[in-house]
Each structure stands twice: as structure tokens, then as C-alpha cells.
């Protein structure tokens, strides 16, 4: 996957995490995957424009709960509407920031409204599109950002 595409997503994730949670995310080893699994909760944001695909961010239960708590000033469960709206909003902000960065590099992308999936080990495959998976370790748990992009030539 082009690193011009990867950079903006990683920078956006790290920046937003820092701004919202005030903690430093630690990046792990990245790899190309054919299938991802959502252990507890994930947010899906579609990408359109110069390339199509989507971004999927997985959170484990503990991290998701903490994020919801910090962003709302109060606790909500992962199943609640507010809890999911919060995670959806986080996905939206990260993707939006990434798209802004991509624009600054000359790439024109747009995003779709987010979808939130709560499940127990849901497996997802992107047929035919390369998926790059980058894990992060945070104080409160783990997250994984999966970028699937296919350039529209």
C-alpha cells in the first residue's frame, strides 16, 4: 500500500487519540491482512474519491468503554445508542483528519457516515482490496486500525 496513503491515517489516529484521551499511543508492527476480526466493537467509515475502500478501527472492550467515558463525561455501555454514537464519532473524526491530510498531499478523498459494529469476534473480509492492519497499544487497552484502499485508475 502506498505510504502516502498510510501516513495520514496513522498520523490522524495518533493525533486524535492524543487530543481526546491525552495519552500516547504506541504503534506495533503492521502487516497486510486478508481478513480482520472485530473482537468487541469496531467503527467502519467508507472512503470514496480518488481511491475507494474503507477504514475499520477495532477497539477492545476496556478501551472503548474508557473512550466513551472520557468523551461524554459519563459512562455508557457499548450497546447503548450514546455509546455507539460516541465510537462512531471517533471514527468519523479520525477519518476526517486523515482525509484533510491526504488533501494536503494532493489526494482527493471523501468519507461516508460511520457504522458501528458490536459483536463477539466478528470476521470481516474485503474482497480483492488490500488491507493494511496497524495495532496500537494504549494505557487502557488495544486498538487496531485497518485501512483498505484501492486506487481508482
Amino acid at each position: 500500500m502506498r505510504i502516502d496513503f498510510i501516513d495520514p491515517f496513522l498520523d490522524a489516529t495518533e493525533e486524535i487519540i492524543r487530543e481526546i484521551l491525552n495519552i500516547e499511543p504506541k504503534r506495533g508492527e503492521m502487516e497486510l491482512k486478508e481478513q480482520e476480526s472485530i473482537p468487541d466493537i469496531g467503527v467502519f467509515v467508507g472512503l470514496t474519491g480518488q481511491a475507494s475502500g474503507r477504514m475499520l478501527i477495532n477497539f477492545d472492550r476496556e478501551l472503548a468503554s474508557k473512550i466513551i467515558e472520557v468523551m461524554n463525561g459519563e459512562q455508557h455501555t457499548l450497546d447503548s445508542e450514546m455509546g455507539q454514537a460516541t465510537i462512531g464519532e471517533l471514527g468519523n473524526m479520525i477519518t476526517g483528519r486523515a482525509i484533510t491530510k491526504l488533501y494536503e498531499r494532493g489526494f482527493h478523498f471523501n468519507l461516508t457516515p460511520p457504522s458501528v459494529i458490536v459483536g463477539n469476534n466478528v470476521k470481516i473480509s474485503t474482497l480483492g482490496i488490500e488491507t493494511l492492519s496497524v495495532p496500537y497499544e494504549l494505557e487502557y487497552g488495544k486498538l487496531e486500525i485497518n485501512i483498505s484502499i484501492k486506487e481508482n485508475v
Binding site: 481526546i20 464519532e89 473524526m93 476526517g96 483528519r97
Partner: protein, 142 residues
């Protein structure tokens, strides 16, 4: 003396017009989270959230129904069904004097330019910052 001073020095909430009535804000956003966050920020300065809409069509309909009571609209660009810029166009077509602020996660120059050209009065990029939101809204309403 002290009490009078306190009374005089107490800041007038930004959400109140000179005559003491609150400004009416219509929030158009599909994210429950953003609706709540904006409402909290605006209510803290006594703005009145006259209504909210979770999609563009509903938003245009409500603006027309409530007209001319809405003083300001906050509008998200990325929504299902109808695209935010299209909603902006429809509101401005209906009411040339409409005051619309775009709230979006995307900060692309070309989006901002287009929104402003279509008639939006200002543009706020998420994450929302209380000071930033209040300052921009105050500016637009002046």
C-alpha cells in the same frame, strides 16, 4: 455596593439577544454524540436549541416550518441520504439571510471554500472545542 457591582459585572450569557430572549439554534447532525455535545456547549451560554434533525431532508423541512424563528443552523456535511452541501444550498435558496455554520470532521480547503461560496457563514472542524464553537457562533450572529 458589592452586590450591585456583582450584578453589573456578571457577564451576559452570549446566547441572549439584547432584548433578553435567547437565540434559536437548529442543529442538523446525524451523530447523537455531536448533538449532545453541541447542545451542552450552547445551553451553557443560554442559547436555545429550538430543534434538532438527524438527516438533511428533515433539517430543511424543519427550517422551513420554523421560519423565521431560527437564528442560526449548525450543519454537518457528511450525512446519509442528502449531502450536507446540498442541504446548505436548499436552506439558502429558501432564505437568503439564513445563517449556517458547517461542522465537519474534514478540514479540506476545497470543501471550506465551496461551503463559504454556497453561503455558509463559517466552518468548524471537529473535534469540538468549547471556546472555538462559542466564538464562531457569536461572530456569525453579530
Amino acid at each position: 455596593m458589592k452586590i450591585i457591582e456583582e450584578h453589573i459585572n456578571k457577564k451576559q450569557p452570549e446566547g441572549l439577544k439584547p432584548d433578553g430572549t435567547p437565540y434559536n439554534i437548529l442543529i442538523i447532525d446525524d451523530s447523537m454524540f455531536i448533538v449532545k455535545q453541541l447542545s451542552q456547549i450552547l445551553a451553557s451560554e443560554s442559547y436555545n436549541i429550538i430543534d434538532t434533525a438527524t438527516d438533511g431532508e428533515e433539517g430543511v423541512r424543519k427550517y422551513k416550518e420554523l421560519y423565521p424563528k431560527v437564528d442560526l443552523v449548525t450543519l454537518d456535511i457528511t450525512m446519509p441520504k442528502k449531502d450536507g452541501l446540498q442541504v446548505l444550498k436548499e436552506i439558502i435558496d429558501f432564505d437568503k439571510e439564513a445563517k449556517v455554520i458547517i461542522i465537519s470532521a474534514i478540514g479540506k480547503q476545497d470543501f471550506v471554500k465551496e461551503a463559504l461560496l454556497l453561503g455558509a457563514k463559517n466552518y468548524i472542524v471537529k473535534p469540538l472545542n468549547r471556546e472555538k464553537v462559542l466564538e464562531r457562533i457569536k461572530k456569525v450572529l453579530m
